[in-house]
Structures are given as C-alpha cells and as structure tokens.
C-alpha cells in the first residue's frame, strides 16, 4: 500500500507538499519518526532556503541512518524537492562550502545568469526517460525558485535540464532516488501529474 512520509526538518514548504498529496487522495504523514519512516512506502524531502542551513537541520532532526537503510538498502522511492534535491550532492557552495548527503556525486554551485533568483515557470527538456515524466507530453512547465543548481558528475543520471542563460540539471535520478529542482507542489496540473507518477513507482 502507498503510504507517504514527508520529512519535516523545519524548512519551509512541508505544508504545501502535504496539501497536494492529501488533495490527490493518498495516505500521507509529516514526520521524522523512525517508525513512520520504516512503515512508509515512499519518502519525500521538501525544501526551501539555503544548502548549509538545510543540511544542518537535516542532521539535527532526521534519523539519517534509518533514512539510508530505507532508501539506499531497501530502495524505497525517494523524492527530493529543490534544496531536498540539492542535498543529495557531495557538497554545496551556498554561503561557504558544506557537506551534503553524498548519495549522488556532484556539487551545488551558483547559476551563471543575469537575473537571480531564477523565479517562475520554466520548461524541462527531458534528457533520459523516466516513469515520473509519464503523461507530461503537453505540460512541461514547472515553477522554479533557485539561485544554485546541482552540477551532477555522472551526466547519464540527469533526466531533465532547464535553460536559464545556461542549461542546468532540473531533474536527476539514480535508481529509486529522484531529485527535482522545481516545486511540483506549486506547479498546478503539471506538478500533480509528476507527483502521481512518483507515487506510482514501486
């Protein structure tokens, strides 16, 4: 049975993600409790704000060993959103260098664009097909808010890119681990399709 656990480390848009999943009629809990993480079928790590601050809160509030066991060993589908995607990297360069979770090789660096932050609706260019893109033939616009991007080392893990004065990785996937730079919970219909696809992953 699909049972979603949204991790809450005290960084922003947990409520919006929860609202959307409830709206889609799935069973969902916001929790960092070891039992709840173990009992869930899908795990979501939302996020807004800066890399270093997010990592600090994650280390403090989330049982990382449990998370590693559920995601890296048991291979439960995992979705990191925005900063929740960026922390998958080895390191982040926002406000000084910080260590990330290091589940996907690469570094989070500043976008090289004239106007920052990159705010608003932008489309994704699919680089490698993934089940999370099912049904997104007409709708490819997602809502972004970012000044940094994940410079993924193994380019074959990049499943989508987005253009903003430069091309950057807007979605990455390594098996059951998925990260998206945009906010599906704020992307109306397009976001709902993507979240449904994620929840259909086994």
């Amino acid at each position: 049975m699909t049972k979603i656990c949204i991790l809450d480390y005290g960084s922003g848009n947990v409520g919006s993600v929860n609202n959307l999943i409830k709206y889609l009629n799935y069973e969902c809990i916001v929790s960092n409790d070891i039992k709840e993480i173990e009992n869930s079928s899908h795990i979501i790590l939302p996020g807004v704000g800066a890399f270093g601050a997010a990592m600090q809160k994650i280390k403090k509030n989330i049982p990382i060993d449990t998370l590693k066991n559920e995601i890296l060993i048991k291979k439960k589908p995992f979705l990191g959103i925005c900063v929740g995607m960026q922390v998958l990297a080895d390191k982040g360069e926002e406000f000084g260098e910080h260590d990330g979770l290091g589940w996907i090789k690469g570094k989070v660096i500043k976008l090289n664009s004239r106007i920052l932050p990159h705010i608003g609706w932008n489309d994704i260019i699919i680089k490698n097909n993934s089940a999370i893109f099912n049904g997104l033939d007409k709708h490819r616009d997602f809502y972004f808010v970012n000044s940094f991007h994940f410079d993924v080392q193994e380019k074959n893990l990049i499943i989508a890119e987005t253009e903003y004065d430069q091309n950057f990785c807007s979605a990455v996937q390594k098996g059951n681990i998925i990260g998206v730079q945009f906010h599906p919970e704020k992307s109306q219909k397009t976001g709902q399709i993507l979240i449904k696809n994620f929840l259909n992953l086994k």
Binding site: G12, N13, G15, S16, N19, L20, Y23, V48, G49, A50, R114, I115, L116, P117, H118, I119, G120, W121, N122, D123, D141, Y143, F144, V145, N146, S147, E163, Y164, H183, E185, K186, S187, Q188, K189, G191, Q192
Partner: protein
C-alpha cells in the same frame, strides 16, 4: 525558456476583497476564497495577497452581504493555500520576524515588505538570513512628483528621502529576492503601466521585477512585457471584473507571441 509571469493581486481590507484607486477608494468585490478558486482555474501563474486594512480591527460580522465573511486575514490565507497549488505572496503588516514566520507557516511562499524595510533596511537582511532571499519581495510605492520618482511608505501616505535607484541598490545588497513596483499615480487609473518607471527599474535591478499599477486592458500587459525588461506583470482590478480574465489575457499575449505559459483553463 523561462516564461514571463501574469500575477493577479488581491487587496484585502478587513477580510473583504476590494478595489483601489490612487491608493484611496475602495469598493467591495466579494469573497476572497471564491475569487482564488476562479483565479486558479483561469491559470494564474501566482498570486499576491495584500492586507490593506487600517488598524487591527477585523470585526465586521455583516449579514447583509449574503455570505459569511472570514474576517481574519491570516485565516483567509490559510484557506487559500489549501485549495490552490501555485505560489502565494503575502504582504501588509509585516514588521518583524515573527510576523513573517506566521505567514510562511500558514502557507505563504513569499512575503512582501514595504514600510518596515524603508524604516530599517537591515530588516531585509535578517529576513533573508532566516528564511532565504527567495521568499523576500520588496514592494515599492512610487509617485511621480515634479518629474521625479519619489518613494512612499505607510500605504502611500508618507514620502521618504530615498532615491529610487539608490533604494534598489540597498535592497539588493541586503538580500531581497524580488521587487514589486507600484505606481501610485497609475493605481486604479486603467491608463496603463508607467513604462518609463519600469524601464528605469528593470534596467537597474539584478533581481526579478514585478510591474503593478494602471492596467485597464490586455494591451497594457503587452506593452510592459515587450518594451521593458520586467519579469512579471501584476494587476488587481482588471482580473476581478472580467470573467475568465487571466485566461483571456494570457490568450491575448500568447497569440501575440509573447513568452508566457500556454493559456489553459484548469479543472479543479
């Protein structure tokens, strides 16, 4: 490619959705939660809610309007964020970190600051440090007097000493994420944006600029998006008077080949 944004502004006075003209005249336009459902269906890119009530008295239990008024601004925002899946900016009456946190907690994605930033620019810095620049919108109320753009605080009632370009520099240095430009002269006039003002600001700013004030017809959105570098066009009155307003304006702009999200009526 990143799209230009179309943003309806909802002005809330004592819990009611109202219209404004030169920051002065108000007329009740109905229930703000019903309004947001319409604006979602018509495919708005995001929404801005501004609380323009004077004082803190929200007690207006009127029965003669045939619908129950949700008199508390924050409870309205909470309801709105549960039914709409797009970014919401909330402004008005934010003067400390606690006010900001309260609004972000109940579902706002960004907060808009005006007077409190002018009184103490370091407030922008503490907000950015605590919540991130991405959620800090600085709103500037500007009036053209003797051919010079003057910045006003306190809902357009008090002139400040800041020079416009100087203020843009300061707010960027302090970590603002976006800037919302309101022309007091054009507010509610329907005569179009102050394109000269938008040009000055959008050439100067290194953060996204949102234009506001003066839209009376769809062409005015087109002018701002094609003749200036603004990232987004916002308007209040026009979006609440015309049925399917957002959809129709987007359709107009899309057919004119402007870089916006494809117009769509969304079933919710």
């Amino acid at each position: 490619m990143k799209k230009k944004r179309l943003i309806p502004v909802l002005l809330l006075k004592n819990g009611y959705l109202v219209q404004s003209k030169s920051f002065k005249f108000y007329q009740n336009l109905g229930n703000p939660v019903q309004a947001v459902k319409r604006l979602s269906q018509w495919g708005s890119d995001e929404l801005i809610y501004l609380d323009i009530s004077k004082g803190s008295n929200y007690d207006i239990e009127r029965d003669d309007l045939k619908y129950k008024n949700s008199s508390n601004f924050l409870s309205i925002i909470k309801k709105v964020s549960e039914v709409t899946f797009m970014p919401i900016t909330v402004g008005g009456k934010i003067s400390n970190l606690f006010d900001a946190e309260k609004r972000l907690e109940i579902g706002a994605d960004k907060i808009s600051i005006n007077t409190a930033a002018l009184e103490n620019p370091n407030f922008i810095k503490s907000l950015a440090k605590e919540f991130g620049s991405q959620c800090i919108v600085i709103s500037i109320d500007i009036k053209l007097i003797d051919n010079k753009y003057r910045i006003f605080s306190h809902g357009g009632s008090k002139e400040t000493d800041y020079d416009l370009e100087e203020w843009i520099d300061i707010l960027e240095q302090h970590g603002a994420g976006e800037v919302l430009i309101n022309s007091i002269n054009r507010d509610g006039s329907g005569t179009g944006y102050d394109l000269n003002l938008l040009n000055i600001v959008s050439k100067k700013a290194k953060i996204p600029v949102i234009a506001c004030g003066g839209v009376g017809k769809w062409e005015h959105f087109h002018e701002a998006l094609s003749e200036t570098r603004v990232d987004a066009v916002a308007a209040a009155n026009i979006f609440h008077y015309v049925d399917q307003s957002v959809y129709l304006s987007k359709k107009y702009l899309y057919e004119k080949k402007l870089n916006i999200r494809k117009p769509d009526l969304i079933e919710i």
